[in-house]
Symmetry: C2
């Protein structure tokens, strides 16, 4: 690929969109320039372009994103077969177990939810397709890391911002690598309140016919209601069965 096959104006514009988050929802030109490292003039041009296209609003001082931005993420969810394919099976799984069931894939050091059947809220934050959680401390993240080589997994763990969300969170790379290897051997991962106190979850990998792990599915439950052993006993068989059904539908 040649140098000129890269449209820097496009890349800059995308970084401007990503600069908006929960903490920074109303941003001025200078704010954006600071956050993205772009020149103020460039940031301004990106923001005015977004505004003109209807992706952003401008009150003369601050810019905010509009719901039109959701078209972009929706392009992925609707154009990728996996989320739609998995949804009915997650619904069944949630129905059978009485708990929330989700599917996710890896993007960098984060898992990205691609489908979800939420039964009742067990987590403090709301999860939807598109939501992200750190891979190192989530059950699906452990499963997806276990699908890679040790070297790749270690590199991702090393580059992760490994904060201890709870006293139980494992944060050291050797400790996490031991966990990843264990998950690889046993074929499932259990997280016991490492992400949030009171939240337990179990995940298994979903593999295509070539044996490549393409996603993970999980079930989350409230810790006081069920022990780790009970989770494995109660949910693992039905999850494995669901996983095999999904794998049978995959190409």
């Amino acid at each position: 690929m040649r140098e000129t096959d890269f449209i820097s104006g496009f890349a800059k514009g995308l970084s401007v969109i990503e600069a908006f988050d929960a903490v920074n929802s109303r941003l001025s030109i200078t704010d954006i320039a600071r956050m993205t490292g772009l020149e103020r003039a460039t940031a301004r041009r990106c923001l005015l372009t977004l505004t003109q296209l209807g992706y952003a609003d401008y009150d003369g001082k601050f810019f905010t994103l509009t719901p039109r931005i959701l078209r972009l993420g929706h392009s992925y969810l609707s154009s990728t077969p996996l989320p739609r394919l998995m949804q009915p099976f997650l619904d069944q799984l949630s129905e059978k177990t009485g708990e929330s069931a989700s599917a996710s894939v890896l993007d960098g050091d984060e898992i990205v939810y691609i489908a979800r059947a939420s039964h009742k809220r067990v987590m403090s934050i709301n999860l939807n397709p598109g939501s992200r959680l750190p891979a190192y401390c989530s059950s699906m993240g452990r499963v997806l890391l276990a699908a890679m080589s040790d070297d790749e997994a270690r590199r991702i763990l090393e580059d992760s911002n490994r904060t201890a969300n709870t006293p139980r969170t494992k944060t050291s790379v050797p400790e996490l690598m031991d966990e990843v290897r264990k998950v690889r051997l046993q074929g499932y991962a259990v997280i016991d309140q490492e992400l949030e106190i009171g939240l337990c979850s179990i995940a298994v990998p979903v593999r295509n016919t070539r044996g490549i792990t393409i996603a993970a599915i999980n079930i989350g439950a409230q810790a006081p209601r069920v022990t780790v052993e009970e989770m494995v006993e109660r949910y693992l068989p039905v999850m494995q069965s669901t996983r095999d059904t999904i794998a049978g539908v995959l190409v």
Copy 2:
């Protein structure tokens, strides 16, 4: 705003992302060029830029979007207070009624789901934040149209692609305008299987302290289980109460 305050490369790139949908998930350079109206050379540059940034994959022939695209839509959902603010109230509403509760805003002639508490699946398609439905035949759409002036609402209806999803779907503009005016007077909208056979829904507007309608909330139920009259009787009071609670939290 001057001519040069518009980055056409950025705008073109965004149109490339939006070209991907359920029907077109694996696209060649020529496909994209046809769909977006861009030159093949330009489409190629946009796609290679997306690939280099990790937003797309390229197998030498076809391009597909990656989950990284979801970061963009997530920027909106996390940066906008409304979805997060509404979620717990939708959860309560869904809990109380035993049905799915959602919130949406208008984007052009479509409603966009910004939050949802899904109880059980009543629709054939899965709805999530970011999902879109045509405004003319959805309960929340009718409510949001009713919040505009007659002229604005009529213009949107005239520009809509009004297909009859079911035999009950209202499609003529005068008929829909009558409906919109009725909704404006009574303060709620009921859709009886106009979107999908077997699906009934009721919606009310959510207004801020200045009386501006900023969103709509709705409840969907299976038509055989409940008549239109029962829906209004059973759900309208609790929805109005939820709406007032939400309005109280708004600035």
